[in-house]
């Protein structure tokens, strides 16, 4: 039976009816009625953040580690502008989040009222969709529709802006099943792939001699069963598999068919295989520029199949021979079924020369680095972190920069939804709040933010949130006392002129941890690293781990900008890195 209630109560009831148990937010004048309604119920828990950007990344971490919609609740004006970075991040990486913002009363909109901002205008280009609620009669439909749109098709952020008078107004509330939001007038994402096209794809796969699966975040977004289908298909076909940064975990890192991550800092074997393949099967990736490198020399000899739920991803950057619009899970399942109906053998013999070639590339050990007994190498620190945590139920988040790429290279994942990183938008400051969001969703898991000392300071205040809610996140800072990726690019492209790429003063992270009521650890000795990591994992508190690492380590291998996949810089590169791109190359890029 539809019930009468206030708009504020509808918000809480809709969250509960959508299965939301935890939200992240910060109160303010225009959103107080919703906070008041929340105060008087126990269905939805609230995590008070320290800055609204923190709420947005927590919601993202929550969503990406569970597959459920992450929710943030903030006030008008500055509350709304502070979440914009997180909304844009969620749009780029297709993360399902719903953001509820308070707004000044409808009668004051347009009057430059206190804390008034044009929230729907400001967020139009960084949300999948947004709403300004102008009538209490629309509120229940809009709330449920927001969840449906956020988590269907290509997922993304949806914002609902609710003026304060609508929060106070009384109206009729309808549950999701009383409203049929899934029968939207104009929004109908295509989930099932066209069977004839999938059959054509399988026929191409059966004839391929140098195939590769190039998988992306779409496989993770399609749910754990999509990853299971991918593994089954990989096993059936015997094809090698690589993935983008966003797709890590959909194929197990321990699989012999796994080539490591592809792209600018991906493995040599994956990039060479992408370049030399005769059939590329893109499942839920989008030919991002960090993947393709020089686009007119991208995989010149291959035919390309592209499976994507978003038609606008097809033929956007790279011309496709066989596009299949649909959900990765559905399409992979169909590929498995059709492959089985045509053959029951992997084409081991036909693929043997291809695998021999891949093994030759593998033997370059492109993720190798020079070990040191006196200084902690950042790659070594991540490998020891993996060894120290692999027996646990572990989730990894990262900030953005060298540490992020090293984490992607050196920390293998066996399962999807275990790796939360800001890929498309490259948001420094993502990892700490994202880790808190993950920990809220998985209270007993080990959640580690692999961080840099630069990024982590962008949202450092959220450690206070972790302390308040006793969320024992581990912030593992690879501290090289510079913005390492910036420094690397300045060496590569700007003659080693280090314009503002290092901090003149860094906080004492151990004392900072103590000041917040967290636990601080510092380590600069490779011999003591394992014990320090064990201490970090054992402490039942949020930890700031200040891991002092080699300062000027380059993140390699690397495809320099303007170069094709087969012109990577490998770790055994000894020349001046600034000489890689010559004057002619600079003109091209």
């Amino acid at each position: 039976m539809p019930q009468q209630m206030t708009g504020a109560e509808m918000v809480i009831q809709a969250l509960a009816d959508q299965g939301v148990t935890d939200i992240f937010g910060y109160p303010g004048g225009a959103v107080l009625p919703i906070y008041d309604a929340m105060f008087q119920q126990e269905q939805v828990r609230h995590v008070l953040v320290r800055h609204e950007q923190g709420a947005s990344h927590m919601a993202e971490g929550y969503a990406r580690s569970t597959g459920r919609v992450g929710v943030m609740l903030v006030t008008s004006g500055p509350g709304a502008t502070n979440v914009i970075t997180g909304l844009a991040d969620a749009l780029m990486d297709s993360v399902p989040v719903v953001c509820i913002t308070g707004q000044v009363p409808t009668t004051l909109i347009g009057s430059d009222a206190f804390q008034e901002g044009d929230t729907v205008g400001l967020t139009r280009s960084c949300t999948k969709h947004n709403y300004l609620v102008k009538s209490i009669a629309d509120l229940p439909r809009i709330l449920h529709e927001a969840f449906y749109i956020a988590n269907s098709g290509r997922p993304g952020p949806v914002l609902v802006d609710i003026p304060k008078d609508i929060q106070f107004a009384v109206g009729t509330y309808y549950r999701p099943d009383e409203i049929e939001t899934t029968r939207h007038r104009s929004y109908h994402p295509q989930l099932e792939g066209d069977t004839r096209l999938i059959e054509a794809a399988v026929d191409m796969m059966l004839k391929a001699e140098r195939p590769i699966f190039y998988t992306g975040g779409g496989v993770v977004n399609a749910g754990p069963q999509a990853s299971a289908h991918l593994r089954e298909l990989a096993e059936l076909t015997g094809f090698p598999v690589t993935s983008t940064l966003m797709g890590l975990g959909s194929m197990p890192g321990s699989s012999p068919q796994w080539l490591g991550m592809v792209g600018m800092h991906g493995s040599y074997e994956s990039n060479m295989a992408m370049h030399d393949c005769d059939l590329m099967i893109n499942i839920g990736a989008r030919f991002d520029d960090r993947i393709t490198g020089r686009i007119d020399k991208f995989s010149p000899g291959s035919r390309k199949i592209h499976v994507d739920i978003d038609p606008s991803s097809i033929n956007k950057n790279v011309i496709i021979d066989l596009p299949i619009i649909g959900d990765c899970g559905h399409v992979l399942k169909e590929m498995v079924r059709i492959w089985r109906s045509k053959t029951n053998q992997p084409r081991t013999e036909a693929l043997a020369p291809w695998w021999a070639q891949i093994d030759a590339w593998r033997s370059k050990h492109s993720f190798g680095f020079k070990q040191s007994s006196t200084i902690i190498k950042p790659q070594h620190a991540i490998r020891r972190l993996y060894e120290g945590s692999k027996s646990r139920d572990v989730y990894i988040t990262t900030e953005v920069g060298q540490h992020q790429m090293w984490a992607a290279q050196h920390f293998p994942f066996e399962m999807p939804n275990r790796w939360m990183t800001s890929g498309g938008f490259g948001t420094m400051g993502y990892g700490l709040p994202a880790a808190i969001g993950v920990q809220v969703a998985h209270p007993d898991a080990l959640v580690i933010d692999i961080a840099g000392e630069g990024s982590v300071q962008m949202t450092m205040q959220e450690i206070s949130t972790a302390v308040q809610y006793e969320l024992p996140v581990k912030i593992f800072i690879l501290n090289n006392e510079r913005l390492g990726m910036i420094r690397q690019w300045q060496d590569l492209l700007h003659g080693g002129r280090y314009a503002h790429s290092y901090a003149e003063s860094l906080p004492d992270f151990v004392k900072l941890a103590e000041a917040y009521g967290a636990h601080g650890i510092r380590c600069d000795d490779p011999a003591k690293l394992d014990d320090a990591i064990a201490e970090m994992i054992d402490v039942k508190k949020p930890v700031l781990f200040d891991c002092l690492v080699e300062r000027d380590e380059n993140c390699l291998p690397m495809i320099p900008s303007g170069k094709p996949h087969n012109e990577m810089i490998l770790p055994d590169f000894t020349d001046d890195i600034g000489s890689v791109i010559d004057a002619k190359g600079r003109e091209m890029v």
């Binding site: 007038r185 020089r294 978003d310 606008s312 590569l492 700007h494 600079r586 003109e587």
Partner: protein, 185 residues
């Protein structure tokens, strides 16, 4: 000036040279008539660097709450496809038709044209207006306002002829377009 600043610096991106030629296409977009829909469409064009030559919007099916937007754009075939697909991604967009690609669309525009002048000039102005089937919708002893409809090229021609005869100002609606034959959108 420092010599190194004269050098092209490196970029984080590879910019492929454009090889396709630009074409003018007319798109018809069926949308929910809701607040902000025009901002979504225009914002998408601005954010992705697409070009708008002409844009007309009006509610066309009141009982269903639908509006029809006609947008004329200049782009390469690859970008034209992106424009169509990106428009279709917008939640309140029902359908996008590339009328130019589908062929033989009817395209019409309306213009109101104010022309001044006295004596012999006025007679010449009226003769030309008659030839273009322009209606006189306002007249004073020293001016006319004409209403002209037709293809944009016809309106262009009429305006060009009015320039030496005392053209004062012009307002145009932008293009409205519809496909021929019995099929609807």
């Amino acid at each position: 000036m420092n010599a190194h600043l004269m050098q092209p610096t490196g970029s984080a991106y590879f910019l492929a040279p454009e090889t396709q030629t630009v074409e003018r296409h007319t798109l018809s977009v069926l949308v929910d008539n809701e607040p902000g829909i025009l901002a979504r469409i225009v914002g998408l064009f601005a954010a992705r660097g697409f070009n708008i030559d002409s844009l007309t919007v009006s509610e066309t099916e009141h009982e269903k709450g639908l509006s029809r937007i006609t947008v004329v754009t200049m782009a390469t075939p690859k970008v034209l496809l992106q424009i169509k697909l990106q428009l279709e991604r917008l939640i309140p967009v029902h359908k996008v038709h590339d009328l130019t690609a589908e062929g033989r669309a009817l395209e019409r525009e309306l213009a109101l044209i104010k022309v001044g002048g006295t004596g012999e000039q006025r007679a010449e102005t009226l003769r030309l207006a008659d030839a273009f089937r322009a209606q006189i919708v306002d007249a004073t002893v020293e001016s006319f306002v004409f209403e002209v409809t037709g293809k944009p090229s016809k309106i262009d021609s009429f305006i060009a002829l009015m320039v030496p005869l005392g053209l004062i100002e012009v307002v145009r609606t932008g293009l409205a377009a519809i496909s021929r034959g019995p099929e609807g959108m």
